[in-house]
């Protein structure tokens, strides 16, 4: 790990603010707000904390597939970084999981009439074809609806191919439009008799890097397989390969397109994953903390820079920046969840373990590193004053207020389960699905100027939240003995 000189300076400054005469000078709410604003503005200009985190974890750890030794190294690395930067109560909270790994061989070869290799990677949860592969005719579907309409049994002995037509959008909403091809396509094809499924990658770029991601198979209700899903082999072609396959259908004049698909994923059985937590201790530990979430795992095929090394860097940097502006009233807790990609397992484990510890408000960063453009909360109607104060505080960074109700990201299960306050700081997703779940999710894709805007917005918002004495969701006084602002 590379220690950041800036960071050490920042911590020294933070300590000075908390313990010297300067603290007394900052004892009014107005002074605290000014200090916070100044730290957020400085983050916009030159933050290096978030970059240092994401550069470090992508370089020194690399890919961090859930449940594997690489993910464990990711947790160890993150804990060392958090401790080195002054977080307290840093811990690895373990949980068990069923672990799938992709194996070594990922091939999709057209056997006839136009023999050539296509680029494929398995979907998370895919079965193995065995080394001998599966050779079968491909049946093409324009989308999931067309597959759903196929007659029962019509795919017996076949490989299903599922297309879609996803385009980039700023809010990322076409992921929901195209995503079912991956999420449920393989099970649907299996229901019609298919031996295996290949999909057009759920993504928007034209590079030969498949977009993986989990696919879901149903768990049978009876028989020897009761209790666990029974997958078929399932893979994603790149968009150029999918386009090529579709042109083959157009040029084959009805001749069958035969593919040999070889995918060799494995199930490792039960292994251990874990959630990394760490805190900036608040002045009043009795107040519900501010929870900042991200996830530490990535898919195997990339070092997970935008998904979600950047998110963890952003939330950690924001927590440190808030500390630099003065010790916060509430504790700020960072949750770097494990095993998000394979089914939000860390988020569920965290909620289960901590459901009785009230969270004040939850926020997550898990949509890349491009600029934040919209502020959303789920308490606009119940605590309009705070909602509007937060939104106004980040307007200078180009962030608009919104009446969309925040629902929180994948790692905020606990906030949803508690029915608690949630804020979504929406990032620009125009480029996100060019990179999401592909080998191309590497550090160079992060624009440091936009990354810094994220840190600035998060610093500003978390700083206000962490110094809010009233209940965030309702604005009601919290019946505990509170210290005065700036007091100990």
């Amino acid at each position: 790990m590379k220690k950041s000189f800036l960071t050490l300076t920042a911590l020294v400054t933070a300590c000075a603010v908390g313990s010297s005469p300067l603290a007394a000078q900052a004892s009014t709410a107005s002074d605290a707000a000014t200090a916070l604003k100044s730290v957020a503005d400085r983050a916009l200009a030159n933050d290096m904390l978030a970059w240092d985190f994401v550069e470090g974890i992508t370089t020194e750890v690399g890919p961090r597939q859930a449940g594997t030794e690489a993910e464990r190294r990711g947790r160890d690395w993150a804990m060392a970084w958090l401790r080195a930067h002054g977080f307290v109560n840093v811990a690895d909270e373990p949980f068990e999981m069923e672990t799938w790994v992709p194996g070594d061989i990922h091939r999709a070869e057209i056997v006839s009439p136009f023999p050539q290799p296509l680029v494929v990677q398995p979907l998370g949860g895919s079965a193995s074809t065995g080394l001998e592969g599966i050779t079968a005719e491909v049946v093409s579907f324009d989308n999931v609806a067309a597959l759903q309409a196929a007659p029962e049994g019509s795919l017996a002995g076949k490989i299903a191919y599922i297309s879609h037509a996803m385009t980039p959008t700023q809010d990322g909403s076409q992921y929901g439009f195209a995503g079912p091809a991956r999420w449920i396509g393989a099970q649907l094809a299996k229901d019609k008799g298919a031996l295996a499924t290949v999909i057009k990658s759920v993504g928007t770029d034209y590079h030969r890097n498949p977009h993986t991601g989990g696919t879901t198979f149903r768990t049978p209700e009876g028989g020897s397989d009761v209790g666990r899903p029974v997958p078929t082999p399932a893979g994603a072609l790149t968009l150029p390969d999918a386009a090529n396959l579709e042109r083959m259908f157009a040029r084959a004049d009805g001749r069958p397109i035969v593919m040999k698909l070889t995918l060799t994923p494995e199930n490792l059985g039960t292994t251990t994953s874990g959630n990394v937590v760490g805190e900036i201790a608040g002045r009043n530990p009795a107040l519900p903390p501010v929870l900042l979430a991200c996830h530490i795992d990535s898919w195997w095929n990339a070092p997970g820079a935008i998904d979600d090394g950047a998110g963890c860097g952003i939330v950690a940097a924001a927590a440190l920046n808030v500390a630099e502006s003065g010790k916060p009233l509430r504790t700020i807790r960072v949750l770097m969840a494990g095993a998000e990609e394979v089914g939000l397992l860390g988020s569920s484990a965290y909620s289960e373990a901590h459901i009785d510890e009230k969270i004040g408000v939850g926020l997550e960063s898990d949509f890349g590193a491009d600029r934040i453009w919209r502020f959303e909360s789920n308490f606009r109607e119940t605590n309009e004053h705070l909602h509007n104060r937060l939104a106004a505080s980040v307007a200078r960074f180009g962030v608009a207020n919104s009446d969309i109700v925040a629902r929180g990201g994948a790692d905020l299960n606990i906030s949803r389960d508690q029915g608690g306050a949630i804020i979504d700081l929406q990032q620009d997703g125009t480029r996100y699905f060019d990179l999401h779940h592909t080998p191309d999710d590497t550090l160079d894709k992060i624009d440091i100027v936009q990354l810094r805007q994220n840190v600035a917005v998060w610093t500003q918002v978390v700083g206000i939240l962490a110094n809010e004495p009233r209940a965030i969701q309702t604005g009601a006084p919290i019946p505990v003995g509170l210290p005065t602002m700036g007091g100990s």
Copy 2:
């Protein structure tokens, strides 16, 4: 193969021009020039011939590694296309070659201190590491000059890594600046004792698709290996992986970076490649033909859309368009060379076989499919009138005249060997080295609007050349009985 309705229409029209009263009407040079201009303008608006060729060969054949069965299918496909579109004297001119194939396993894993996989592909001509791979410390060099300066023997037992700093340029000239890392780096490292070499891909994009290409090993002058080069394993990392490796050196605090490199290329021994030729017959077969060159082979890792399916599509389309404007005076010969990527073998074989048949002028298209921006010839001083007439004819397509002396592309060995006339229609190479020799060289990268500009410019230039009765290089009369313009 998909037959193009447009093409059939074009051929019918061409026949009509050659045999009906319309031909008599086009019997003046002015009318012929008008007809040619019209056909070129139409190509700019809506040419589908070049697209049909490159779509077809990339879809129905795919990758076409020199000397392999896939390259043979490429030749067969191209010959069928040429015949279907009305070319005559279509043939496959075979030659023998030593054939290298990449094998199945291409892995570069950092073993310590930051274990993780990097994305690598072998360079053409690389030796195999064997399935067990080579595990060794990596020694990093900023560029070839730094490697050259390394002491003799200093790389014994090591893997050399060679970086560079190439940026996109319109004229592609930084290929010459960065290229030596690939062309000679592995031999230089071997000379210093290295077991193997990995280079930063010679390219300008940040996707996880390595740029392969040939690397050259010296042929020993004595010993049992006399007569053939003795390679070491050599591979190319993607730019994101190279950047990651360089960051590892920065973060390792002097700890050795250990890599396990596994590359399993194979030498197939002597196999057959070939050159595809085809002609649009001219009215006077005694006049030296106009030679339009491109290459049919590609690297194994991509279907070769910009390198060089597009080039073959452009030259074939131009020849057909010229025929559509009226039967040309000179024969137009298309040369789709084999085995260009591995050392211009087809170009050499063609020159050797045909050195005694004078070529009137040679042109090649092998730099992608982006727009032509500059006209160059090697007869500007010896036949200024024709040079300037040609340059003026394509000014309307945004092509500038130039006093740079054309040297011709890879497949014009015969023109250079004969000391003949050469024209270079320079394409915009800004995007070229994002794609060159990578898996990303796929059809979707071709901008049909710019492809059509290429066809229009080629049609205009080839049309003038194919109707030029005087020696192209000198402007001198050619002492043979010439038919009048538009005659039979």
